[in-house]
Amino acid sequence: MQISRREFGERSLVAGAAALLGLSAGPVFGDTPVTAQQIADKILAIMGPAWDPASYRDTFKMGDPSTAVNGVASCFMSTFDVIKRAHEKGLNFVITHEPTIWTDADLLPPVQNDPLYKLKLEYVNDNKMIVWRTHDSWHKMQPEPMNAAQNKKLGWDKYALASDPRACQFPPMPLRDVVAQYAEKTPTESVRVIGNPDSVVESLTRCGHSCEQNIVGLEKYDVAISIEIREFETAEYGRDFLASGGKGAMIIASHESGEENGMEYFTSWFKEHLPGIHIEFIPTTDRLWTL
């Protein structure tokens, strides 16, 4: 499905073929096949001040950025499963929020002799795919898109506090109801609660992954929601919080649960700003199950 100039020398043919694929050879990209680099450049130009060129996260991770793009797959994380599903849909440019080779900085030295890394890289290269990450820049957009998208998905946007976009204030309800809303509407089974389900709560804040944010958050709000924590520090603080008589609760969920909605929103943002470039959201899901 790859379009190349060699095959389509005539501009009209390029435009025709591109239209079939949902691509456009509009003024931004000229009359040559759209490359991953061009799409990334365009995204960063639109993001403007949110983009930090020094970010080690927001870079190309696999593949050749000058490869022509057949279609874009957006996702929370470029797992091997997501990459395969993108390829099966004929999408060769994966835009991911999180890493590809299992560390924040996508460090090569720890994995370069690892057979799974080699398999994943080979799959990407053999299928002329490209993986690029947008993390820091996307988080810096205003309003912060991850929390905003999740509030919308959960129907919590009406409770969001203007003074603190991570927080919500809502009519008093049992903790179990807040948890049920989160568990039903976010794409994960990995929701673990530290707190009495019958306790009545009326405010919450999101604490990311940080132990310190959880400590500070619980001093001010009833519920601290965090996505991916370290159990020895944050979960154990939660246990001690209850044991010391603390009134409140922690909802500890998987990283995916907090950010999939935000990357689904990225997909509609992309469609609005880069019309004519075909993009599909591929759910990562953590694929965890519980008993």
Binding site: M77, V193, S244
Partner: protein
């Protein structure tokens, strides 16, 4: 006789019993209390949670030995845990939980000693073996494969073939891990297990699966968005079938009891009690109507 046993003396006895190759420069050491105070009893717990301290107080044990430090962060120069947002001392001191726990320790004259790297390096590997026994794996150990993974502290077991779902159910019951989480097709049959308690990083998982002789991983707390996703990709590749994450506490509790038994084998002056604190999670919501 008990009147002459100080906390320092207990630590000296542990050092001499542990092995001749006691490692220095570790994260271990006294965290709270007076090392020269007389020990009235010894409690072991993987982490000195408030509930563990209260249990020790009720048993009149004033020396608590644990892998973890008491205030949810490492304060020394040797860091063994991968923190996410380490709380500053300023934030901690302002926390009502910190104040409560600190007062509890001070008011009862508790002495806390951290036993971490050298605990994990004990030749008898009580941490792994206690968990393996709890899960019913120990009798099926493949000693050569375990030996090969000695650097990670993991064990390898060839258990009677079982579905991933049934293995998870059994693990949930036997390890009291109600909040466990599982990756992989529940119907897949598994039989070759690599087991590793505690916090699991990529290098551990990579080592555990490198020989491709393992089809299921049973772990404490795999690092999310690193080790979890590595395991997911391993399953996607068709090289593995599943991973069961018990949770850090559920994976460490059996070791605390085993450690108490070991210390009690050479210290008879005072009582030594292992305290299993259970998992910190109150509940897991039923998912999706």
């Amino acid at each position: 006789m008990a009147t002459s046993l100080t906390a320092n003396a207990v630590v000296e006895r542990i050092r001499s019993q542990a092995s001749s190759a006691w490692m220095g420069g570790t994260s271990e050491g006294f965290q709270c209390g007076n090392p020269n105070a007389t020990v009235t009893g010894i409690a072991t717990a993987w982490t000195p949670a408030i509930e563990a301290l209260q249990k020790a107080i009720s048993l009149k044990h004033n020396l608590i030995i644990s892998m973890e430090p008491p205030f949810w962060r490492e304060s020394g120069t040797v860091l063994t845990e991968v923190s996410m947002g380490t709380p500053s001392m300023k934030v901690l001191e302002a926390s009502s939980v910190y104040q409560y726990k600190k007062k509890l320790i001070d008011d009862h004259g508790l002495i806390l000693w951290r036993f971490n790297e050298n605990y994990q390096a004990l030749p008898s590997n009580p941490r792994l073996n206690a968990l393996a026994r709890t899960l019913g794996f120990k009798a099926y150990e493949n000693p050569a494969a375990t030996q090969k993974l000695a650097a990670t502290g993991a064990g390898v077991y060839t258990i009677p073939e079982i579905s991933l779902a049934d293995l998870a159910k059994k693990a949930r019951e036997s390890a009291n891990a109600k909040a466990l989480r599982v990756l992989g097709d529940p119907q897949e049959k598994v039989k070759s297990v690599a087991l590793l308690p505690g916090y699991i990083q990529n290098q551990d998982i990579m080592a555990m699966v490198r020989d491709r002789n393992v089809d299921v991983l049973v772990c404490g707390e795999p690092c999310e968005w690193e080790a979890f996703e590595y395991a997911e990709d391993w399953i996607t590749a068709g090289w593995g079938k599943g991973m069961i994450s018990l949770g850090r506490a559920a994976s460490e509790d059996p070791g605390a009891n085993e450690l108490a038994g070991w210390i009690g084998s050479f210290i008879s002056d005072v009582a030594v009690t292992g305290i299993a604190i259970g998992e910190p999670f109150s509940y897991v919501p039923s998912h999706k109507a």
